[in-house]
Symmetry: C2
Subunit: 340 residues, 2 copies
């Protein structure tokens, strides 16, 4: 199981994970969308050598995988674990990833940009994630000439990434703000200060399981640390609001809350078939119950890991077989029962 899921970090009653992603491109090589296969190979070689040559510690820890060598199920599973993007998963010609054993660092090669360094850590650890991404970035910069402009900063395929090339995000679990409806005001406020809010699997996933991904949109005219600091501060504010809403629910609607939490727990431990969407909602309830100490028999890490375990890719990988939608519902219920 991926590092950011099997462990907890600071504020992890609410903040599931922190992610920093750095977009970089190599000078004098066309962006991936107009890249020849030969030049694409050259990009892979450069990144591979940049990171692994002369860094013996990394050599054993990282592996290079060509997307075309991955089974469909593995590609899906990597997407579910947020280690690659859906776009990279489709790129079976020139797409590659360099990934560490713990799966906290993944470097996408020849996605929209030549290089996308991603660090994903449990809990609220944006600074730490940036430190790791910076370290990889520095290693690469020793051997690679990045496409860089004095005025625009790091050049990227899409202008929204120009400048620092940094995208930072946190994944928050906000069940109490969702239950009370106060989440709408929080989302509006986040939008007004230039943050984007998405569901766990990007736009259109509608905040399944009360999970909210919040990320910076501005990359130009600010420093890396400013981006991180801003997102960190907003996250802390939202976290305080969520905690206050949870406390309020406990004070004013304890029985209703316990009832909801335990019913969801009971269903998860007993269902014989369950859709992903329903499971996400029930897991959200149980996670809330565990965070508040109402449910003591299940650890937060186990509940967090369930979020990924119930996804189609993980299920099919776990059961080593391709599963249709009905079979997945059955196996999902089985895996949840066995886990809880």
């Amino acid at each position: 199981m991926t590092g950011w899921l099997k462990e907890t970090g600071p504020q992890s009653d609410i903040v599931i994970s922190s992610r920093v992603r750095t977009a970089r491109n190599i000078e004098e090589i066309p962006f991936p969308h107009s890249l020849s296969e030969i030049s694409a190979k050259e990009v892979v070689e450069k990144v591979y050598h940049g990171i692994l040559v002369g860094n013996t510690g990394f050599k054993d820890d990282f592996k290079l995988i060509a997307i075309k060598d991955l089974e469909e199920i593995d590609r899906l599973n990597y997407i579910e674990k947020h280690l690659i993007s859906p776009d990279l998963a489709k790129n079976t010609v020139i797409g590659n990833i360099l990934i560490n054993t713990e799966e906290t660092i993944s470097i996408m090669i020849n996605e929209e940009d030549h290089i996308r360094i991603q660090c994903l850590l449990p809990g609220l650890q944006l600074d730490q994630a940036l430190d790791v991404a910076d370290k990889i970035d520095d290693l690469l910069e020793e051997k690679i000439n990045y496409a860089f402009d004095e005025e625009l900063g790091y050049l990227t395929a899409c202008p929204t990434n120009l400048g620092t090339g940094i995208r930072a995000s946190v994944m928050l679990h906000l069940p109490a703000l969702s239950l009370t409806g106060y989440i709408q005001a929080v989302l509006r406020a986040a939008g007004q200060i230039g943050l984007a809010v998405r569901g766990i699997y990007g736009e259109g996933t509608e905040f399944l399981g009360n999970l909210y991904q919040i990320s910076n949109q501005v990359t130009l005219g600010v420093t890396e640390r400013e981006i991180i600091r801003n997102l960190h501060d907003v996250t802390m504010q939202i976290t305080e609001k969520e905690r206050a809403a949870r406390k309020n629910l406990l004070n004013t609607k304890k029985i209703e809350l316990e009832d909801r939490v335990f019913r969801s727990f009971g269903i998860l431990k007993n269902a014989r078939k369950i859709t992903g969407n329903e499971a996400m909602q029930l897991i959200s309830d149980v996670k809330l119950g565990a965070s508040l100490g109402l449910i003591e028999e299940v650890k937060i890490e186990k509940i967090n890991s369930l979020i990924t375990m119930i996804q189609p890719g993980f299920l099919q990988k776990h059961y080593k077989t391709s599963l249709n939608s009905i079979d997945r519902d059955i196996k999902r219920a089985e895996l949840i029962r066995n886990t809880l």
Copy 2:
């Protein structure tokens, strides 16, 4: 716990209980609705002596209770256990019951008729219930002159009871016929052959928990044994249909059925508040699951007893306090959790 609930009997995967009730009146004493308190006392005395004097076995087993001496909660509890009628419960002037320890025999005195002998047994035991009711009836007839007419048979306050004065009923659990919708045809057929179908607590209780009370309506021009035989045969036919429907569900929708049964079980074991209606539905699912061997950890008797335990009267008696509707939902959930 009442005898018919804590034990099982023949066909008790489907037939919860069998009941025979005999209406009798004493010659030359007005019917209860126009009875003086003094004459009413005389009726009580006659019944009491008729059954208990010279029958030492009965003396220790039966107790005579005046409705006016019962707490409101106890009256409710007796109604829920089907030991007295709601009408008798309201009769705090002249209403009495003579009841045995096992609560399988209850004799209502001064309800609509002077005497209503009721025998309630677990499972399909109509003949046995009639045997018991007849035995009590014979004992009383030795000492009491019943109001009887050569042509009309036993005279009763309401003409629908004339003749044998016998009302026989069975309580059936028909979840599979309900789920498949086939129950409608069964109910129509029962009506066409002169049987009445009601919910567990009489008309208007809408077949809560998929429980159906089926009883004869004709009492005149047939013998006691014919009434019993007819109801027994119809019950066996319905029981076979229910069993076939269950088998068919198991064959064609096993996972869906298991899912439903176990989810209901999970909710019952975990809910922190639950209404009576919801509990009845979930208990019905669990009972079905237990009957089919899907759930092995709970005995049918325990599930049957839950049906009465979740009722307002039982709850308040158990917790020795008057409970409002919200408190009842909380205590109901607690009692169910502790029982399962």
